[in-house]
Symmetry: C2
Subunit: 419 residues, 2 copies
């Protein structure tokens, strides 16, 4: 441990921010807008480019059946469980340059920084690029890490379809990934520890002037699809008293979720309707069907489930009063994860050695670490992002914040890989 | 007049319903769903098929620069103003087989029925197939009749774009229509009278057991586009108290329009939000922008404008309270049309001779006749449709209802063309 603490680590932040900018330029949209949906041409081009950087650093690369990519720096005792780090490079439509990317390219720079000072890990250090952390394509987030953690079965994964009806099998094959999906699952003991570096995606660190967030819990997200079926008709001729307008019912439901999330009185509860499709979608046609996708989160699983229950109660009342049918499908409702105290403490020690202020906090966003926690001890390192803004083109983390996060990650990996 | 009344007209309703079924099968969707958006491959195929039927009947065909199609049965005095009839064959997504089609194929059958009994018109009878009565593609309804009536200028028409950014110029050229759009405008006096046959798209005729609705007024529709701009962010990390969720604001606006339309206390007021696009449209992203398309109608223009004013007042309050921006764009706000008493009376006489019950009524739906009324005397013949249902695949008019409507149309055309 003392050897890890005494390393004179120097992060090449100019190179790293240049690489983040280059990666952001590999997008389906026009820069600075980042849109990189899994298995899109941009996603595949981004993967190739990142793998090239990893090869330059002399690292070995393995890809599994769903495209999770493992970049390995072999340890002096290859038989030991590895220390993992990593994140994702897929991005939702209209996203920014830092979500996920900081954990992948920052993880690589942490390895390069350790290489430059001549550090040699006892345990292998593995950088993981997870497939489809974002739910954009398949409606379910953390596809790669769910399969890795055995939370999603191969059968469930093969049933996934994107909005155009293309299945996972077809899409992963076209992307060049093959083999049994059941083999993606990793055994307990594959990693002795896993640490993910990520932007906070919230306002706390920047507001309070703290360099490093040390994540102790990852919030429990639930996603529900809602279908409202009413009665369509001509917008001119269908008179108001006889209408069963699916979009009016959906609008009440949107507001009911907002009210239920606020009604817990706890800042940690959030509820969002981010997707809405109105059918048939003509200006002169009364909507007959609406499909919503909702996202409900809390650090307390029971409180989150209470919000879901409130939403369903509201839906029953709306359906009854308006003469529409409302159906719910639970896409996922994952339990929260508790981070490993030993890793949390290792991060805090690393921050202290690096001269960076740190604070324990909760992650409200979904992360692959939530599912890695099913088979390995995990923790996360957060860095500030401007205004707490994420999932937008103006998402931003300063070079100084990034350099701090990468140094703390490098020192943490060094300590964990020396054990 | 006496000669027209004494005609032994026999409508070939088997042939006509067969033709309606064939036309319904020319669709972008799977039958029985009719989707035939203007200038789509299905629309062009349907036009060719209908023109073939017209040629079989020995009629001359002319098409104007926007694709309005004029099918002429020459009169014995070709110098006189013609008598017009007709409707449209384009259909909104997920529509049925009768809206518009009954007026086109029924108009053709009326001409054939008159031909079969040896009637020879003094004035020419022109069957018009209007381009894009439905607003699906360009967001504005009655494109062909607006240009014909000089309500829309060539410049305004050329500025129209569909949702994929394709302009009218590009689309009409690809469909084979050329020439100055300004030439689409017809002069006052082109038609001595114009009569459109259409399904009611409302429940009154069927409910009251009446064969024929004689339209005296066509309601005044207004269409507004609304853009709500809030603030996006990560659905997990953006806490409820700091949100400016564009979709929650939009939901309030949808309910405000519903309430304003109901608040007039008059059955003739209707308000609908039929189109909603949520941006960026990801389940884990707080909506930053929403685009709505609204349709507001009344037979009283001032009352309709009162509903629009209520909507805008509600929008101001919502924008202020939620910290979002709400902008309105008026796509159209057309004045209502009053039908020509002489044609209304001719229809009533024709119904009486045909042994069909009739009732004067108001049209709440948009029709090309609204714009033909700018340059010619108009009236409309409504027939019942089951349950008042329209703009849906289960839209239905019985052969008996259709036969009645076509006979009344034929007799009305014969009377008007003899004058």
């Amino acid at each position: 441990m003392s050897s890890a603490n005494s390393l004179l680590i120097s992060v090449d932040v100019n190179r790293l921010t240049g690489e983040l900018t280059t990666l952001a330029g590999i997008t389906e949209a026009g820069p600075p807008v980042v849109t990189r949906v899994v298995f899109s041409e941009a996603d595949l081009r981004a993967r190739e480019w990142v793998k090239g950087l990893c090869r330059e650093a002399g690292l070995m690369i393995r890809e599994d059946a769903v495209g999770n990519t493992f970049v390995r720096w072999e340890g002096s005792e290859p038989g030991l469980a590895a220390v993992g780090t990593g994140s994702h490079i897929d991005a939702i439509p209209n996203a920014g340059a830092y979500d996920g990317a900081v954990g992948v390219l920052g993880g690589l720079e942490a390895i390069r920084a350790l290489q430059r000072v001549g550090y040699r890990p006892r345990r292998a250090i593995e950088l993981v690029i997870f497939t489809s952390e974002e739910p954009t394509r398949f409606g379910i987030g953390c596809l790669g890490s769910r399969l890795m953690g055995g939370v999603l079965s191969a059968e469930q994964a093969l049933a996934l379809r994107d909005k155009d009806g293309h299945g996972l099998e077809e899409l992963r094959s076209a992307a060049g990934f093959a083999g049994p999906l059941g083999w993606v699952k990793l055994a307990e003991g594959h990693y002795s520890a896993f640490v993910e570096l990520h932007i906070e995606q919230g306002p706390i660190l920047e507001r309070e002037g703290i360099d490093i967030g040390v994540v102790t819990h990852i919030a429990a997200p639930a996603s529900l699809r809602v279908v409202i079926e009413g009665e369509g008709g001509h917008a001119g001729a269908m008179l108001m008293p006889v209408r069963h307008d699916a979009f009016c019912a959906a609008s009440e439901l949107v507001l009911a979720l907002e009210a239920a999330a606020k009604a817990t009185g706890v800042i940690d509860t959030v509820g969002t309707v981010g997707v809405c499709e109105v059918f048939p979608g003509a200006v002169n046609s009364v909507p007959s069907r609406v499909r919503l996708e909702t996202d409900i989160r809390d650090i307390d699983g029971a409180r989150r489930d209470g919000v879901i229950a409130s939403l369903k109660t509201a839906a029953e009342e709306i359906a009854e009063r308006r003469g529409v049918r409302i159906g719910f499908e639970t896409v996922n409702a994952d339990p929260p994860a508790t981070c490993e105290p030993a890793i949390v403490e290792a991060i805090e020690r690393a921050a202290k050695v690096a001269g960076r202020s740190s604070q324990r906090m909760v992650s409200r966003a979904y992360h692959d670490s939530l599912f890695v926690a099913r088979f390995a001890p995990v923790a996360m390192i957060f860095i500030p992002c401007r205004g707490g803004v994420s999932h937008r083109p103006d998402e931003y983390a300063s070079p100084e914040w990034i350099a701090g996060g990468v140094e703390v990650l490098a020192r943490t990996l060094a300590e964990l890989a020396s054990q």
